[in-house]
Symmetry: C3
Subunit: 247 residues, 3 copies
């Protein structure tokens, strides 16, 4: 993919990550939403593409100051929502037949890379001049599950697990903010709520607010996913300790 | 290595991969052959070098529009062949004694990186002016095993396994092309031949044509190497089902 | 982090490594000391930061021609020593409160990345003009344990283990230099001392001088850490064979 882009355009390439869980559209969608908005205007190429070669579309999305190129499987949807808070995105479908020599198993190289190079070369304001792109209105949305929260309980689920094993939930950090320093119930176990990993001694589990603003289950210098025995989509129930004893 | 190059030359560095199987010359040779020709003219630095510090030579190869720098252990041979279809390559031996402070265990840093910087700085047409390079004619070839193919059977072997666990054989995709949609025998098991991974339901094994043009054994959203219990060099026998029943 | 830097500054980003052992300050300190001095003058951003969010300081260090940005936990100390052999380093403390929107769990993104961008943009000679930096004199030192060496015995420990499984000790290569070609005792086992990995047949253990100048325990095309059953900080005792029999 890098070679194909470099043949078309002397763009600077910045690797964002090569270590997302393979084929996992939802985890990738989460990380893209968290990472891409930090960049200055750029063309972002995303290939999490288990449906490569099927009739799933390929997309170019102009959202805010960014252009996104990748498959229409939902992986681009949450970051598009995040980047489009003030202006509606414009979505284009890639006519893959314009890439007549494409393989059926690696559109990252054969379709998305040359498209990303073309988009970067023309600029986001001239995307309409690319003849194999057609505006489309119906595309694949992907939204993350919403937690249910009341005064003393939050029931959510695991959105992602980072490389350190920190378990990222969909529960907003605001639920934790006034409980820092106390213990709360995490799926029935009493766990300290802390502002930092290192507020607990090494090896100790804790619940904190991650850099994404959501509640995160962690172990100082250890792995939260192992400690809490949680994987993607598992339910996470936070409660004040009194409440949890009654439930 | 990046520091050494940057000290010599303000070149842009593009990481191709750091995840090749360690010390595995043949897998690396396969991937270099598949990847490097997609790049525009460049200097490529390759360090798969289990013989570092022995009397194995270091090479600079000019092949097509590209320059290759690395050890003379065969890792550069298949990509050199691929890049030299119209013009013969020119091979130079590096006089390692020109790098008097070199370690015996990391020539990537101490020899190949400064050589690559010098080659990139001088340009491929001025390589003859680098005094520690001497044209040579005898170097280490590496060729991949050839499959044997007749009308209804192909017997080949495993060339490489990619990061997804897809098993890449040396059998050309043309053997599969008119069998797509049927089942064929893969080492005795009946397996669907499909154009795409997603043509089968998740977890289902399949045989397809990879982005390199060769037959690939895969599992949609799973690992082909585990499913088919295959590793490098193992025999892969594809046959029409009738034929396989007779064999 | 890359996005934050790119928003501030059109600097070229060079990835040095993303595969250091997580949270392991001492291994990171070793590799930084070995790697960074090979670079031309640059701003280096280091985030091995288990104490993120606590009152550990953040630092900018000007050492030799380089600027280092990262946490005050010792990870920057050995490379600072190495870069400061002719000129004393200048150490600045980052006033983190200047970054009012910072998270408590990811100062790499929220503090160190914007600081590194500011340092790179102003240049190392204008660091005094950055108002959230204050010179400091007391910071966290980290030194590696010293081996004890006499004429026929060296007792040291494991400093680091590289990606190949090579076991890097704190014993200087000079101890081995006149023993190459002989066998020596490594923790009681007789092991050949060799100049290169490939001097032994594949799978054979050996003791050699690594590219860092220290004694290294390795297996040709295998893993020294497994063969010698060693991990970080373990004792390594090298001795002439006669001597070892008496010990």
């Amino acid at each position: 993919m890098k070679g194909v882009i470099k043949r078309e355009l002397d763009a600077e390439l910045v690797d964002i990550t090569h270590t997302l869980p393979r084929q996992d559209i939802r985890s990738a969608a989460f990380w893209l939403r968290e990472i891409l908005p930090w960049f200055p205007p750029a063309t972002h190429l995303v290939v999490i593409d288990p449906g490569v070669g099927t009739d799933r579309a390929g997309l170019v999305i102009v959202a805010g100051d960014h252009a996104l190129v990748g498959p229409d499987n939902g992986v681009l949807a949450p970051v598009t929502d995040r980047l489009s808070e003030t202006t509606a995105p414009v979505i284009y479908r890639i006519d893959e037949t314009a890439f007549s020599d494409r393989s059926q198993t690696f559109h990252g190289r054969d379709v998305f890379a040359p498209v990303a190079a073309a988009v970067a070369r023309r600029g986001q304001n001239a995307i309409d001049t690319i003849d194999y792109l057609t505006p489309m209105t119906s595309w694949t949305h992907l939204t993350f599950p919403e937690p249910s929260i009341d005064e003393d309980t939050a029931v959510g689920s695991v959105l992602a697990i980072d490389d350190f094993g920190n378990v990222i939930t969909n529960i907003p950090g605001s639920f934790l903010a006034n409980r820092v320093g106390d213990h709360i119930s995490v799926n029935g176990d009493s766990v300290p709520a802390a502002m930092t990993y290192a507020a607990q001694s090494p090896g100790t589990p804790l619940v904190t607010i991650g850099s994404h603003g959501n509640v995160e289950l962690a172990v100082n210098q250890g792995r939260g996913d192992v400690q809490f025995d949680l994987t993607l989509d598992d339910v996470v129930r936070l409660a004040d300790l009194d409440t949890s004893h009654q439930s």
